[in-house]
Structures are given as C-alpha cells and as structure tokens.
Subunit: 297 residues, 2 copies
C-alpha cells in the first residue's frame, strides 16, 4: 500500500516512521511546503521519498493530512475533487466540526475519514517525530457513518497500526469535549508562561527557582503558535466558554485568597483533587481494541 | 549524628530515607501527629524510630521541620526556647518571610537555618517518600547571615547530602520570586482541574479524551490542600499580584479569541514560547556546588 502524508511535522513525520516500521505501508510519500522539512524527513527515514502534491494524491491508496487545521479546511474540498476512486483521505486535525462541514455534501465525502489522534508533544517539526508517539493513545474517528465502509476500515486499521485504541463520536461532540480537556490546557499553559516571563524580569530567577512543578505546568507553552492559533479559531465557541469558566474560577479563588478564606480555599482544592481519580483512569487506560501486538509486530 | 524529623510526609520521609542511606545521620528520629504515618515511616525505613516531640528535640543534633508552614510559624518560637545549645533547627517550608519573622530577635535565632528545597511531587504522605527526591534540585537558604556559622554549615551539608545544589537569598526575595515561579503554577493547575471537572459533567469524557498535555497541566491539582492553603495564605501579597496578572492576561487572550485576532494570538504565544529557552536552562541545570559524588557516595 502507498501512503502519502501531507505535512511532515511532529505528527506527519511520526505517522510515516511508524507505518514504515510496522509494514502497514510499502511506500510512504511525503509532501511539505518547506524544502528543509522534506530533506529532514527523508534523512530521518520518516518517509521514503518526497514528491509534489499532485503526485502524492494520485499515487496514494491512503492520503493522510497532518497540517494546521486552517490549511485542512482550505485544501480538503479540492483534494476530494482530485482523488481517484478508491483513494481514502484521512485528516488528523485537532478540530473536527469545521473540517467535516467543508466536505459536507461533497460527491466524494464518503472517501474521507475525519480522525484525531490524541497524541503530541510540545515539540514540532520533523526532528521531533518518533514512531511510538501514538502508542496506547486514543484515536477518535468522527462522523464515521459518513465514510464508505472500506475507507473507514482502512483509516481505522491505520490508527490501530499506529498503536492507538479507537473511540467514535460525532464531530460536534468532539469539538465540545476536546475544548474542555485539551484546548483549554494549552491556553492555560501559554498564558502562564507569558505571565511569568512578564512579571519575573530577571530570567535567572526563573532558571534558578523553577521546579518540576512549574516545568510540568508550562510545558505546553512551548507548543507551536502556528498550529494552535487555527485550532483556537476553529473551536472558538467552545474554547471561549471553557476559558470564561476558568477565568471566573481563578477570580473567585483570588477573592478567597485576598479575604483569607482558608477553609474555602481548601474546599476548592479538595474538589480539584478529584482529578487524581480521573487521571488514574488515564494512566491505566486499557488498550483492549488495539491489535498491534497480534497483527503487526 | 542524630537527626530528628518533625513531619513524616513526602518531604520529611524522603529526607530521612536519604540521610540514612548516605550515612549523614547515624540515627534518624521521627515525629508525626498521625500514628499511622509514624508506623508507615518506620515500616518503610524512612526513620529509625519514632519518638515523642520532646525527646526528638532534646536528643537531636539537627532538627528538621517538614510540616505545613502554618504549623512551623506556630511551633518554631517554642522549639527555639526548648533546644539545647549546639542543636541546629532547619525548616523546609515553601514560604520564608513569615517563618523568619516569627523567630526574628529570638535569643536562639542563630541556631535556626531557613531553607526551602525546590523539590516535591503531587503526592503526599510517607508512602510517597523516596530518597532521590532532591537529587539535582535547588536548595535555597535564606537570611544565612542570621544563622551561626556552624549551624549554617551543618544545614548546608545536610542539603548537599540530599543531592541538592545551594543558592542563597533573603527571605523577602524568596517569597516574591517563588510566588511567580512556583506558587502560581499550583493555583493555575488546581483551578484548571476544578474547571474541567465542573464543566465536563461526564467524567468518562475526561478519561477518554485527556492526553498527556492535560495530564501534565493538571498534575499539580493533585497536591495536598492542607499543605498548600497555608502557603497561599502566608505568601498572599505576592501570589495575589501574580494571580491578578495571570487572570488579566487570560482575559486579554479571551478577547483576542472572541474577536478573531489570530495574528495577535500568535504573537502572544510566540512570547510564551520563550519559556522553552528558560526551561532548557532548568533541564540542564549544573550541579557544580554539590559535592555528592565526591564526599558521600
């Protein structure tokens, strides 16, 4: 099978490397606007060769889109115009509603599978790619009923070969819940990084005094602005609501602090402690539907 | 040397275990209000034996305080009243200004060393203790000039034996800078955990959709409220200022989001990205002043 990957950054590069390693793809073709990314991706073995866009979508059995989400909504309709029958297109964007909307009603809508691998790091570019990025993580397929069965199965098999377990939901629910659980974390972290850099004029103090707790909390502040701004924009409605709730809760906590309401602060933190139970679930997430051990390795 | 540790949680327990392992202490005595913590600490080898408070401070060469900071300000003056000449007292609290204030002018002030190891995890209690907790981390000694030279040297040697490198500053500066770099991260994380739990009524969604980014950002929300509330209260002035700046920046970002100002969002995140450079410094922090390799192992 020939897989073409559009966008050779952290996500696209990691997909290519893994699909080559496990033999899911016989040939991985890569496309990237940046010549340097293309050269790096070949050098690092993330793809077999890089080609021009037209070749990539003509030769591929499966085209995987791994570019910023604003690029996806621009590119997808024309891509579905151009593909041959029998080609499957899957996107890996962090928003799903607008992406599904732009292909709604397209005559080749059935060739498209909307997916979101909940995997990533704060690093970007082909140098950041590694083949185990998706191991044990959740892969979401949205609006599955709008994809042709064969395309859905191919896309699902690809995600399983990446090491993921699969859940399905509609694209609106995806954007709502992912705003709370993923997108808002990134804003929290970006703005914490910004605030500490602004308020702590002497960087040596940050260097000397920051512990692992600070590093953990601002890790996501290192993420790519070019990737995240379009996500925030596409999921504005839900993120704005979540961010508003976060700001209100912070302001309420500040009032408790300013007024010396220690018991109320403790009660608020006790509630937050509940996240431990939920995160324990995350840590021990089962991979029951991943056939990676039996079928691939 | 006999070391007594008051408070056998994550910090006190980890100190005991390490000081026994490296031979800095010939005997480690432990004190805790909780009988179950006492039993666990002995069972886990964190201390050699547990004793009553009076015995602990009478028999020790070095008394180490590892209890919540409100307990420290209550306990310290009477402890300095009660110690023999030649006994050194060191606290390991996360605030320093009020702790130093309560012993200011005490006739045994010189026997006291104010310290803060920038180390910890989101877990608490003796079961959470481990001897490498402090390895390579920063140990801060405050207002060193107010401690007798021999007491200062003993306390410093203890921190070095824990594996830390030492920096020194005055207690006011400590509280100012640590508010920005540590305390504010905890509030950011507590309130993010609270907000997501409130807004996402179905916990299965958090369980299924949260990735490593969310887990990293809310890790500190698992921290002990009983430990953190007194810290926030004692360092209210600085934390309130930092928290206010954080809220203002979040609100400004929300406005950019709501108004679709993508370029301005990118510019803001670009600034936050600068934290990568600063954190790289953290990751590669040199341990030039730690003699742990030569003297202890």
């Amino acid at each position: 099978m020939i897989v073409s990957i559009i966008g050779l950054g952290l996500i696209g590069g990691s997909v290519g490397k893994r699909l080559k390693e496990v033999g899911f793809a016989d040939l991985v073709l890569g496309v990237d606007l940046s010549d340097s990314n293309c050269a790096k991706a070949v050098e690092l073995g993330l793809v077999d060769e890089t080609v021009v866009y037209q070749q990539a979508i003509q030769r591929a059995d499966l085209v995987i889109l791994a570019i910023p989400v604003d690029g996806m909504t621009k590119l997808l309709p024309a891509m579905l115009d151009a593909i041959d029958e029998g080609t499957t297109v899957m996107d890996l964007g962090s928003t799903k509603e607008q992406i599904c909307q732009v292909v709604e009603g397209h005559e080749n809508r059935k060739s498209f599978v909307a997916a979101h691998p909940i995997a990533g790091t704060e690093n970007s570019g082909p140098e950041a790619a590694f083949s185990s990025l998706f191991d044990g993580k959740t892969g979401i397929i949205c609006d599955a009923e709008k994809s042709q069965r064969s395309c859905y199965e191919l896309a699902k098999s690809c995600l399983l070969n990446l090491g993921m377990h699969i859940i399905e939901m509609d694209s609106q629910s995806h954007d709502l819940h992912i705003a709370y659980v993923s997108h808002i974390s990134h804003i929290s972290s970006f703005i914490l990084g910004q605030t500490v850099l602004e308020i702590e004029k002497n960087e040596a103090n940050i260097f000397n005094l920051a512990g692992s707790g600070f590093a953990s909390t601002v890790r996501l502040a290192k993420s790519s602005p070019q990737m995240w701004a379009p996500i925030f924009k596409q999921n504005k409605k839900h993120i704005s609501k979540a961010l508003g709730a976060y700001i209100d809760n912070l302001a309420a906590f500040k009032t408790l602090l300013d007024e010396g309401e220690e018991d109320a602060m403790i009660s608020c933190m006790d509630n937050a402690n509940e996240i431990r139970r939920v995160l324990k679930g995350i840590d021990s997430k089962k991979r029951t539907d991943s056939p990676i051990k039996e079928e691939v390795v």
